[in-house]
Symmetry: C2
């Protein structure tokens, strides 16, 4: 989807991961190229999971889904190998995390289907480009994430609550952030909620279910976006015999420029 | 997705089809509610077909996909029955049209999966609302549609060329039409081509592959949008043992207001 020249930085990150030279998080690497969440499931589960994603596009925006057994994301990173090109994976057995290898060749099977799902890095870059502050980035923390009372539309064995990420902003910034993220439907799009955390079932902003808490200052409101942790949490809760995902923060770097995800 | 009161007009259309009182085309009925293309396939084909749609969102925007065996589009028209609520169907056997019944209860099986796919009626209403003329509507004709040299991204047994619809406009109208249809990604979105038909493999605008030809006046250019005939043509070409679709022009009327499909 982009020339060799343009996507060299992205290919370099994948090659370093493949060689074992890169085993850490990908935040800040290959700036301008879209990073993606990875969920790999056996074919028997994959049709249900794809229906789940199609029914819940805010938390589960599908950037690409592979053919069963294929290790190549032919649309977003032709030639890449999803078994080796992420710096670190998490392997799940019966819904429990069972290791964080840097390569999953030994776990791969001919019936596996890989899902690449949009990640908030893309819209955070767009926010920062317009000087909308992003608190957790300023503080060098992980974004705070919360399970909500918003139930996803179920599909087959896949069901569960939406997980959201939160960024505190002034109301004026929240309006501008809504405009900016509306342009990026394939990386979660516009906020799903603004203001009162209790209205979506969040008891205490200081105690996120994932990531780290950040302060909400006077004059700010919490702004909530659907989060890519949702599909992984829902998939794990269904306890598939085998599931492979990226390790948190260790994303797949595609050849797709962030700019291409802008709907307008 | 909308109150009983709001969607009464849509429910009335479906009820008339169910009773057998409505067996004709749906254009102009329940104005303001989204109409959809229908493709029904056995589960064995449905996962490949859903991947095909996800890979080709311009021609194949999925509004809803049902669970195997379910006859209810729970998201876009809760309580409706896809076996009876369209005015006319087309039943396909081994890729050949094999009848146009007004009810498909006798053909239904527990392994069937239904796809509702966005239709250009929604964006045509948005064009007309801004006084962009739509030639085939002015002339009371079917929109002209053409097979192109643009190959869709294949998935499993599903592969083939993109079919496009064409509307002639002045260049200024084409720019405004691009802005307007960009707002509607789930009903084909922005044009895929403007101008020279030969550049996308169309030999003669006067000889459409589907629908009826319309004149392109001096000072106008042809504007091409991805068309919902694509998934039906691709599915038929794969010669599934059984496929059920709407008969041309006899769409499924959902409870979803067109306005809700606007991305912004």
């Amino acid at each position: 989807m982009s020339s060799t020249r343009e996507s060299a930085a992205a290919a370099d990150v994948r090659a370093a991961a493949r060689r074992g030279d890169l085993t850490g998080p990908t935040a800040g690497l290959a700036t301008g190229f879209t990073q993606a969440n990875l969920v790999v499931l056996p074919r028997d589960d994959a049709f249900d999971f794809l229906r789940f994603c199609v029914r819940n596009p805010r938390p589960c925006p599908v950037l690409e889904v592979t053919d069963p057994g294929s290790t190549e994301p032919a649309q977003t990173a032709p030639g890449a190998d999803l078994r080796t090109d992420l710096p670190r994976y998490r392997v799940w057995r019966d819904g429990e995390a069972a290791g964080e290898p840097t390569d999953v060749r030994e776990h791969w099977r001919a019936d596996l289907v890989a899902f690449l799902i949009g990640c908030s890095f893309t819209f955070e870059r767009a926010l920062l480009a317009d000087e909308i502050p992003v608190r957790h980035i300023e503080l060098g923390l992980n974004v705070p994430m919360y399970r909500t009372a918003i139930e996803c539309a179920p599909a087959g064995r896949f069901a569960g609550p939406m997980v959201v990420s939160m960024r505190p902003m002034t109301p004026a910034q929240a309006v501008r952030a809504t405009q900016i993220t509306t342009r990026y439907p394939s990386v979660h799009g516009a906020p799903v909620h603004v203001g009162d955390p209790g209205a979506i079932g969040i008891a205490d902003l200081a105690r996120p279910d994932y990531g780290e808490a950040v302060p909400v200052h006077d004059g700010e409101i919490p702004v909530f976006w659907a989060c890519g942790v949702t599909p992984q949490a829902v998939a794990a809760a269904s306890r598939p015999a085998l599931m492979i995902t990226h390790a948190p923060g260790h994303m797949f770097v595609t050849d797709m420029p962030d700019a291409r995800l802008a709907a307008l």
